[in-house]
């Protein structure tokens, strides 16, 4: 694979073959910052599950204690009292059929969609549009709920959704490189703890094969899986 000069230079900053502790890896990431923008810190996982099996499909949400560092634009499909609740909780867009028509017309100025169950009949018709973009509300992801106010607040405050790909890997943003080392570590451990808790009971063999920490534009720093999960469980 072609790698640019900048990337090759960054690869020399650390030992690519070594497995690091979470704190060591964060220190390295700080040295890897090489762009003009505030890069996102990302955790990459390769899991030993079979995503085709319904009970091994890892998906859920987790609240990052230090937030994501990103403003999330939340859309809520709700009507009546629930719509008012959503607006008061800080949702960026709230509506029912009017919003549905707008989306059908190609409008996508939001990062997350939440729906009350009583809206799912209408929202379901947007499956082909929202589903392909990964924006379809889902009960397991906490985005199909009657408690819209709570959901809006949590997602705005840094709740993120994680979901395994069909190749059994996962890439999740856990903050910005401008965060302090402690905040990044807190977020990583919160995410890992959620992943460890989501381990399917039916799984035999290794659960997490590899774990990597990287920036938007940097090489990945490999983490020591056993040490990192042990710290996450304690935390």
């Amino acid at each position: 694979m072609f790698r640019g000069k900048r990337y090759k230079k960054l690869e020399k900053v650390f030992d690519k073959t070594k497995l690091y502790d979470v704190s060591e890896a964060i220190d390295i990431l700080k040295k890897l910052k090489s762009t003009k923008f505030d890069e996102t810190v990302e955790v990459g996982l390769k899991l030993g599950v079979d995503p085709k099996q319904a009970d091994q499909y890892i998906r859920g949400t987790v609240s990052l204690p230090a937030g994501t560092g990103k403003t999330v634009r939340v859309l809520v499909f709700a009507k009546g009292e629930k719509a008012t609740e959503a607006k008061e909780a800080g949702a960026d867009y709230v509506g029912d059929d009017d919003i549905i028509d707008k989306i059908k017309g190609g409008w996508f100025d939001f990062d997350l969609a939440i729906a009350t169950p009583d809206m799912m009949g209408s929202v379901g018709k947007l499956g082909k549009i929202l589903g392909t973009k990964g924006l379809m509300p889902n009960p397991k992801a906490g985005t199909v709920t009657m408690e819209v106010d709570k959901a809006v607040k949590e997602f705005k405050a840094g709740r993120i959704e994680y979901r395994i790909s069909k190749f059994a890997d996962m890439h999740v943003p856990v903050g910005k490189i401008s965060f302090s080392n402690e905040d990044i570590q807190k977020n990583i451990l919160a995410f890992l703890s959620a992943i460890v808790r989501a381990k399917p009971a039916s799984l035999k063999g290794t659960y997490i094969f590899t774990m990597t920490l990287s920036l938007t534009m940097s090489p990945g720093v490999k983490l020591d899986v056993s040490k990192a999960t042990a710290v996450a469980i304690k935390a």
Partner: protein, 633 residues
């Protein structure tokens, strides 16, 4: 373990073992070519692999959870008024059914939003739909259809309106949309046009998975395959490499086996002579030696020579000589409804010419042939046939025989041959023994094609028209047909997408260009070189982008780098000039020439600097000119 393991497969048809202990493995990245003459059981083996037929012995192991995409040879489509897009969709009934259920349950959730069981059911179904790729399915179908050359307008065409090649492409699209890990393709290029075949070659090379392919297209096999299994007389011969490499390896091994067989036969003869001679001596010692030799003979394991494939012997005689012009079209045109297939054609075919008609599927090649032979009425214009032309036409649809007749009856009904003459004639087309008593409807694709060739060889003609004659012919039969056409003194007009075949018979190309047919007056190679390539695939787009960038001129970074180089040249020139002037100054000193070795070194350096200076100044001038051309400021 490979993705497919074929172990010791044996299959009998009657008392004949069509497959006799076949074993091979299809690995993760294998591109395996399964080749052999027609009737050697390739399609039977594929059916066994695909669980459509039970073997008499042996087993096929397949890796669990791997999706196998099967492209059958007998590709019958339900050609009702279903449109093309819906035809592909029909392969995903389970996904669309899950989608329908999801919609239903969404409505139930809407009515009863506080029911946790209902919500859990909804969540499970949504996950199932997502895992099946339900949200993405229409996009996936669109991508594949576009990749296979179907335009957006085509998606709404009824399947019934598609040509043979287009139907093949449609079926390939249906298989590819299932995202298979392994592809099993049985003669995939039959009915595919040249562009689609070239596309398929590229696709198979890029395909991330294993491929098992049965084909007689030598170009395709050589370009795509890295593993070849040759089936001869029910046995499998497994080789690494593409078809040509495997064929060469097989021929070499066969030669060795013949040599070994000969050596063994010579030894047996020698041994028998020895035994006879020593037994004749009548002494006990001699008898002992004869017995010892007998025992040695008993231990000899009979060497078997590798079998040789049988070849079709086709002999075409031109009956009589035509005039200089075989046929001429005058403003010929043909339309079906509003669609004009060709119009205003003024073409001329001369005696002895071999012409291949090229064009994409559905453009009207077969209609043109049928208009020439008079089976189709032209919409306007006319076809003028030359003096003494007698035509024979081998049609694309292989149905011009009585399915209830036996092979020998079919030949005798179409000729004046007596039974024994008919048998002799059929033997040259590899119909021997009981083969001649087979019903036409029970023949394999290859046998039907050979039967039609056998009928064709009986026809007295000096102008033969073939419509895709190599479809269903095996590689040896294709080679025989090539030789026959090459040596045929009459004229030949044909439609074929087999590049080896067209090249080998040295045909001139008539190419469809919209609704016109152009006489390129050149060979296939020349035609392909001249033909402007469609810029459709990613590679072409990349090349286009690169060219566009090139056309736009150098980027800011490139200009900056040129400026830096110019600056470096200037620094170097100034440094060299300074050193040159130093040496010149010292040269003006009278003592300069009395310093012995140092004088020599300085003079050498002076010469070198002069050369270096000239070179650097030249380079600077060139770069400076280049830079001022692109960045005048």
């Amino acid at each position: 373990m490979g993705q497919i393991q074929v172990q010791n497969i044996t299959k009998y048809f009657g008392v004949k073992a069509v497959l006799d202990g076949i074993s091979f493995t299809l690995g993760g990245n294998d591109r395996l070519a399964l080749v052999g003459a027609n009737g050697t059981g390739k399609s039977t083996l594929i059916k066994i692999i695909m669980d459509q037929m039970e073997p008499d012995d042996g087993k096929v192991f397949k890796e669990p959870d791997k999706v196998i995409g099967y492209f059958a040879q007998d590709r019958s489509l339900d050609v009702s008024d279903v449109i093309l897009f819906d035809q592909v969709r029909s392969a995903f009934k389970n996904i669309y059914e899950t989608g329908r259920q999801l919609e239903e349950i969404s409505l139930e959730v809407e009515k009863d939003p506080h029911n946790p069981q209902l919500l859990a059911k909804f969540e499970k179904l949504q996950h199932q739909y997502e895992a099946l790729g339900g949200y993405d399915i229409d996009h996936r179908i669109e991508r594949i259809l576009s990749g296979l050359g179907f335009s957006k307008e085509d998606w709404k065409r009824p399947v019934v309106s598609l040509s043979g090649g287009e139907r093949s492409r449609l079926q390939l699209a249906t298989i590819l949309a299932t995202e298979p890990d392994t592809l099993v393709l049985d003669e995939p290029t039959n009915h595919l046009d040249l562009e689609a075949t070239i596309w398929l070659e590229g696709f198979l090379q890029e395909f991330k998975g294993s491929v098992l392919i049965v084909s007689h297209d030598r170009y395709l096999l050589d370009k795509v395959c890295n593993h070849t299994v040759i089936l001869i007389d029910g046995k499998a011969f497994d080789f690494t490499g593409n078809f040509t490499q495997a064929r060469a390896q097989y021929d070499l091994e066969r030669e060795h086996s013949l040599e070994k067989l000969q050596e063994q036969q010579e030894f047996i003869e020698r041994a028998n002579r020895f035994i006879k001679r020593f037994k004749g001596y009548g002494t006990e010692v001699a008898a002992k030696r004869a017995r010892s030799m007998e025992r040695r003979l008993e231990r000899v394991v009979q060497v078997e020579a590798l079998p040789q494939e049988k070849k079709v012997q086709l002999n075409l005689e031109s009956s009589g000589r035509t005039g200089e012009i075989v046929f001429r079209t005058k403003s010929l045109s043909k339309s079906f409804g509003d669609r004009e297939l060709f119009g205003g054609l003024n073409l001329e075919m001369k005696r002895g010419q071999k012409i291949a008609l090229m064009g994409p599927n559905g453009c009207g090649k077969t209609t043109f042939l049928k208009t020439v032979i008079g089976e189709e009425e032209p919409s306007s214009g006319e076809v003028w046939l030359g003096y003494n032309v007698s035509m024979a036409y081998l049609e694309q649809e292989l149905g011009s025989f009585n399915p209830e007749a036996t092979v020998i009856e079919e030949i005798m009904n179409n000729s004046d041959l007596k039974p024994q003459e008919a048998r002799d004639h059929l033997a040259t087309f590899l119909f021997v023994g009981d083969d001649v008593s087979k019903l036409c409807k029970a023949l394999s694709g290859g046998e039907i094609s050979r039967l039609i060739l056998a009928k064709l060889a009986l026809i007295d003609a000096n102008f033969i028209i073939f419509d895709e004659p190599t479809n269903h012919l095996d590689i040896n039969a294709r080679a025989s047909l090539e030789d026959t056409i090459k040596n045929y003194s009459g004229s030949v007009l044909l439609v074929s997408h087999d590049r080896y075949f067209i090249n080998n018979i040295g045909a001139t190309i008539w190419a469809f260009d919209g609704n016109n047919i152009v006489d390129t007056r050149g060979s296939l190679e020349e035609y392909l070189q001249r033909k402007p390539e469609k810029q459709t695939d990613k590679g072409d787009q990349k090349t286009q982008q690169k060219q566009k960038k090139k056309d736009q001129g150098p980027s800011k970074n490139q200009i900056k780098s040129m400026q830096d180089r110019l600056k470096n040249f200037e620094d170097e020139i100034s440094m060299l000039e300074s050193r040159k002037s130093d040496i010149e100054q010292s040269m003006s000193n009278p003592d300069f020439y009395s310093r012995g070795e140092q004088t020599k070194l300085d003079l050498d350096e002076y010469d070198k600097i002069k050369i270096q200076l000239a070179e650097t100044e030249n380079a600077w001038a060139e770069l400076s000119e280049e830079l001022s051309a692109i960045s005048p400021q």
